[in-house]
Symmetry: C2
């Protein structure tokens, strides 16, 4: 099952569900986004009933007129033209993991860490899967393709099995980072917490339909050139490890998101280093989930060099 | 003016206002907490009208019966017995600054930093001014007395003057930290983000009534023994510096909180190092604002040494 949040022509948003990536349409649900949807413990029955009713009503778009229309949502939107927002618009918690790809850690000569490196961001950092990313004041904007884990139920001091059960599903994120600000102090926050710079989406694939630990290709591209290419089976701490670990000190709940870290190939690690340039499009893809595509609208500080640095 | 959030006998919370620390009672306002109150741009007129009406109705406790009772809040609560909650219960953003006390930086031989060291915490870390603090799973629980800045209006890419204007007021916080978890990785988050471990309060003193940069004594005590003692004039980055700096990358709004860092005298810096013990009471006081008093309920991991370490 795919869960998404769709921007409506009226300017609002609606949660929506579709069977899988081959479905021709999304069925709209009675919630403003996936975060609001899954706050209702009965959301899965509602979503399944809506899918069944929409299938009964045919796959055309427009308001459904099929059976059970009085009690079940059957309004559909063509998947080819649906404009998707970030699936969860305002997570209470957005926890990020640093160095976490086995291949990347080995290639940089580091030891495999005993504990995950974690930091926090606020909900305002989130932006839509196809949104332009505007940054004014950084000359070193970098990319970080990441698997995002979406929590579906409350977990506090949970085991790994508890965490597996609490995970709603997975989506794609790019933890776009302002390296000049990030390097100013030991704490990464000020390079990571820029408003509307972390695209998330396009939709959440539920955990019963996909398994990142068994291996999903992850790729980051700039204007079609592959910069990052790895596989989620290389994660040192997998999704359930991270959810269980974080839950030892802070309860996670429906809609909370954990970003799992990025593989090698970021601009900071290239020689020469390389930064995103104004007008370039960043594409972030995970096999079986989908892609983000974000064009950069960058205004570096006065006097800053262009997006490449010979170091 | 003091703004507080009072726990009612019915189990809820109410925003409240009093003239100053000598006022015998708090006047309750029609909002669940100070965060909800100040989201209304007309909050100051409401608070002043309530104070005036309560003064007209006399200073006794109980439901007010004075003039304008139909349109102005005059329900009061005795200040001596009022049970205060954290003034803002769910800030959207809680940004913390690291090393920021001039005297402490000099005494540790470090250079005065060019940029503030910042990290983020979630609203769930907040607890009441008099709440017990329960921590299960850390053997190195430390204290950090801090001045907290509460933002009153939206600020985005603001100047220092903009920041001065956007600050609602000041309160007291203790950024209680689990040093064993904090030291596991380079990022401090996992030592700082434990649920209900950051007491904030007792009330917000508005910026027209107090000026931390002119110097307020700040003190941290354990069971009456002074561990930290400094003055807010020693802040390298003062309240307006921090609000202006953070606003360069993320918009701050009503109810957002910035913790300004702690002076010397934390357990991590003592020789031998010294950690909080189960049953000890941590008292955090800032001149002209008030005090927090929190008793520790600690369950260290199995096999961990008692609260002192000979290193």
């Amino acid at each position: 099952m795919h869960l998404g949040t769709i921007r409506t022509t009226a300017g609002g948003t609606r949660a929506a569900v579709r069977e899988n990536e081959h479905a021709a349409s999304w069925t709209l649900l009675d919630a403003a986004d996936v975060g609001e949807l899954i706050a209702d413990p009965g959301w899965r029955e509602r979503a399944e009933a809506a899918l069944a009713a929409a299938a009964g009503a045919g796959s055309g778009s427009g308001s459904g007129t099929g059976i059970d229309a009085a009690t079940v949502d059957t309004e559909t939107v063509d998947a080819a033209t649906a404009l998707l927002a970030a699936p969860v618009l305002r997570p209470a918690k957005l926890v990020c993991c640093g160095l976490n790809y086995h291949d990347h850690i080995v290639e940089t000569g580091r030891d495999i860490p005993e504990y995950p490196t974690l930091f926090a961001k606020f909900a305002d950092t989130i932006t839509d899967p196809l949104a332009d990313i505007e940054i004014e004041g950084s000359a070193k904007v970098d990319w970080e393709a990441e698997l995002a884990v979406v929590v579906g139920s409350r977990i506090r001091r949970g085991s790994k099995a508890d965490a597996e059960a609490a995970i709603l599903g997975y989506t794609v994120a790019n933890d776009v980072s302002c390296r000049d600000w990030q390097a100013r102090t030991l704490q990464w926050f000020q390079g990571k917490a820029w408003d509307r710079t972390t695209p998330i989406g396009p939709a959440i694939v539920t955990a019963d339909a996909i398994s990142p630990k068994d291996g999903l290709a992850i790729r980051g591209e700039i204007d079609g050139e592959t910069m990052q290419e790895s596989n989620t089976r290389e994660l040192v701490f997998d999704a359930a490890d991270l959810v269980a670990y974080v839950s030892q000190f802070t309860e996670l709940g429906p809609g909370d998101i954990v970003l799992t870290g990025t593989p090698g190939g970021v601009g900071l690690g290239l020689r020469p280093q390389r930064w995103l340039r104004d007008g370039e499009t960043l594409t972030t893809t995970i096999e079986g989930i989908g892609a983000l595509s974000n064009t950069m609208r960058l205004t570096p500080p006065a006097g800053a060099p262009e997006g490449e640095e010979r170091s």
